[in-house]
Amino acid sequence: MDRFVWTSGLLEISETLVIQQRGVRIYDGEEKIKFDPGTLLLSTHRLIWRDQKNHECCMAIPLSQIVFIEEQAAGIGKSAKIVVHLHPAASNKEPGPFQSSKNSYIKLSFKEHGQIEFYRRLSEEMTQRRWENMPVPQSLQTNRGPQPGRIRAVGIVGIERKLEEKRKETDKNISEAFEDLSKLMVKAKEMVELSKCIANKIKEKQGDITEDETIRFKSYLLSMGIANPVTRETYGSGTQYHMQLAKQLAGILQAPLEERGGIMSLTEVYCLVNRARGMELLSPEDLVNACKMLEALKLPLRLRVFDSGVMVIELQSHKEEEMVASALETVSEKGSLTSEEFAKLVGMSVLLAKERLLLAEKMGHLCRDDSVEGLRFYPNLFMTQS
């Protein structure tokens, strides 16, 4: 019994669990040891026993210490047992539950059965001797007795413990994060006061807003991430960054646009560009501002905004108005079409298909039928037929 050493019960990297069994009591020779029945685990390298009530009480014996094993059948009032004969303990052995023992064998008593399977597996491991092929560092196998505060990672209890730790950690993080939010709320209150004051002043036309207030206002906006509230500056002349970005976009988007018939919605562009970039993603704002400069910079693409507000990027060579003529043909052929039907026929996204049909309606080529059945477009017979 002195061959056992204290252990954390954690498996090493090359060590794998083979089988485990609850309700096993260990006998030192013929005597019961003073521990209650526990869980016995067989790994590729060791035999580990852990107290069921006190999980930190965990001991192990390397399989290399085992000489041979034999079965002992159950009797009346006696559980089935496995007798394990052991080599003498090594002199440099780590501390264990027993300093010395007169017996060179132990018995494993299976109070909750499972002895047959365990014996089979143990015999297998003894035959295969897998521990010889996958050495584990000696010092890492053991540990100086049960340590409070260490998270045992073995078994369901280990998992539960880990989850609890994680939950506590998350809780802490969230509280920290909300600290920022409460700071933001305090600032927001100030901002609201200031903006109300400014709004009132404007309403009453009571002189100018003092420079101090303007500066305060701007600084608040800056701290919230709105770089420059004066839109004329950002739109009109644009910044160097947006100009560069616009040129870059022109390069990236040329091929995809040609593939898609010369027109793409801005959301498609956003996804495409950011996917290509991987890191250093573009914000939607930056994308829009860069696109607004495309035409001014005489690049081969342009940004177009439809009446409905949908934004698209078009090749300069793309003439949406001409596409309308072909749309009219398609609709006339089929009598009438919904946006979805048209999209499917032509192979476009429904969003862009709808925009094309709406443009055709605006130009007077199509008219609409809006009913519970949905929105359909017809050739504009009001104009063509008297």
Binding site: G364, R368, D369, D370, S371, L381, F382, M383
Partner: protein, 160 residues
């Protein structure tokens, strides 16, 4: 004397029952509606209607096509007719209206022409004679019923 009413081609065109957003298209659409309303009322000899009746009438509700002109759009059509002089609201709530498929001025002119033709200037007529007399039956589709008729007299050119 109800003839079978011949619906115009627009009546079988689903977009006819949706108010068109395109301004030019809408103009054509409303013009078609106006003439349809007038010819319908003329044939069915209907000179007044409520908006509720209008909604359910086959005029604005094409059951076979499964389309009906929504009430807001009906209001737009009625307003068009009013602007043209073919419609008058009978109440402040705009729930019932008078349809004049010939405007009062047009009637006035007609009456005058008829009277002159039959060489009966400077005679006195009763309203009854004018509306029910044998001579008047071939004029258009007979003069409209008394409530309207007064208006027509008032609209007649000064010479009478």
């Amino acid at each position: 004397m109800a003839m079978s009413f011949e619906w115009p081609w627009q009546y079988r065109f689903p977009p006819f029952f949706t108010l068109q957003p395109n301004v030019d298209t809408r103009q054509k659409q409303l013009a078609a509606w106006c003439s349809l309303v007038l010819s319908f009322c003329r044939l069915h000899k209907q000179s007044s209607m409520t908006v509720m009746e209008a909604q359910e009438s086959p005029l604005f509700n094409n059951v076979k096509l499964q389309r009906k002109l929504p009430v807001e759009s009906i209001q737009v059509v009625l307003e068009e007719l009013r602007k043209k002089g073919n419609l008058e609201w009978l109440d402040k709530n705009k729930s019932s209206f008078l349809i004049m498929w010939r405007r009062p001025e047009e009637w006035g002119k007609l009456i005058y022409q008829w009277v002159s033709k039959s060489g009966q200037n400077n005679s006195v007529f009763t309203l009854y004679e004018l509306t029910n007399g044998e001579d008047t039956e071939d004029e258009g589709n007979a003069f409209p019923s008394p409530p309207n008729f007064k208006k027509n007299f008032l609209a007649m050119p000064q010479g009478l």
